[in-house]
Symmetry: C2
Amino acid sequence: MITSAPIELAVSTVIFALRPGDDSGRRTVWLPLVRRIREPQQGKWALPGGPLEPAQELSESAAFTLNETTGLSPSYLEQLYAFGNVGRSPGNRVVSIIYWALVREEEAAEAVVTENVRWFPADDLPELAFDHAEIVEYALGRLRGKLEYSNLGHAFVGELFTLSALREVYEAVLDKRIDPANFRRQVETSGLVRATEQVQTGGRHRPARLYRFTAAATQLASQSASI
Amino acid sequence: MITSAPIELAVSTVIFALRPGDDSGRRTVWLPLVRRIREPQQGKWALPGGPLEPAQELSESAAFTLNETTGLSPSYLEQLYAFGNVGRSPGNRVVSIIYWALVREEEAAEAVVTENVRWFPADDLPELAFDHAEIVEYALGRLRGKLEYSNLGHAFVGELFTLSALREVYEAVLDKRIDPANFRRQVETSGLVRATEQVQTGGRHRPARLYRFTAAATQLASQSASI
């Protein structure tokens, strides 16, 4: 039934990490982009991705380009949406299945950076190829939404964390200051985290209680993966 | 970079409606299926769908097969997920972008039914082709999830509705009895609906207050579309 050139199927990945901004030291959301070295849209920055190979699973393809671009393996990888508007790629029809991934700050700090692969703050991106600006906006919406109703913060803070480390994740992702006392109250009544007997010592501050996510939070996250 | 047979791209749609069950009159979730008249998997029932045409938008393709199968236009149509496992279709690699749709009961009652197109209750499906049973389960999870945190019920009940009509939607989708008094309390404190000055008259019962969804519910629904 297909009557003209076959439709190309690509898989691309939006990779998020929290990194300190240039001036304040406050962390914000960053993502790596790849400079296109070929037409169409040569010279513009794009999400890492490529055509799906016939023997490759969709998520394998996403993880492969992620690794190829950054040298990283994601702590979180999930399908986001299929973008396939007829006019999104001039000259040919390309449907892109988009994944999104989270990597930890310390991993992101070790990511490979080359002339054509560079990390950018999500709120200060260069001009992007195709509809990739729209895709990044969509992925940011999903990231913010999932942080609010699941234990997604886990992927950023690790298994044990202080409440201030968790608050900093929320501040970075939601891009706003959050009052520490309000945050503590909300988190403690949410049932998503619970205090452990352990504390974090060292540094200039007094020892801080370590928390972990509850089983309820983990269940919520797996439910939300199918929502 | 593609080295073997091109990957086929299909769009299929899970179409849900609430319909009375065979015996009790209580409504449950139903969906239309199409009997495969060709190999592979000839004779099995499958979701309505077909290959994406190069000049067709993804959602157009979904709406087209929906209309071709049932004669209906959906009151709700949304992309669900891309299913693309390597082994899901024997002999060739097919990636299916799945949409899901809701149609109102009175529309579903007028849907076209032929020898090879038939509606089935979601909890009593025949053997399905390929991975379509898994896709239907995934779609049911999304349906239930969205009903709980958005104004999705709107697509089933219309703009003005009685609380018992809304409760019947929840009972059908979640497949359980819900206590009317509890339901009234939960819905009234949720901020998702508000009472109007209008009542529904007629029938054997006393006039029932009509409700509508609030702006907050509408906003929630549009947010959740990007979550």
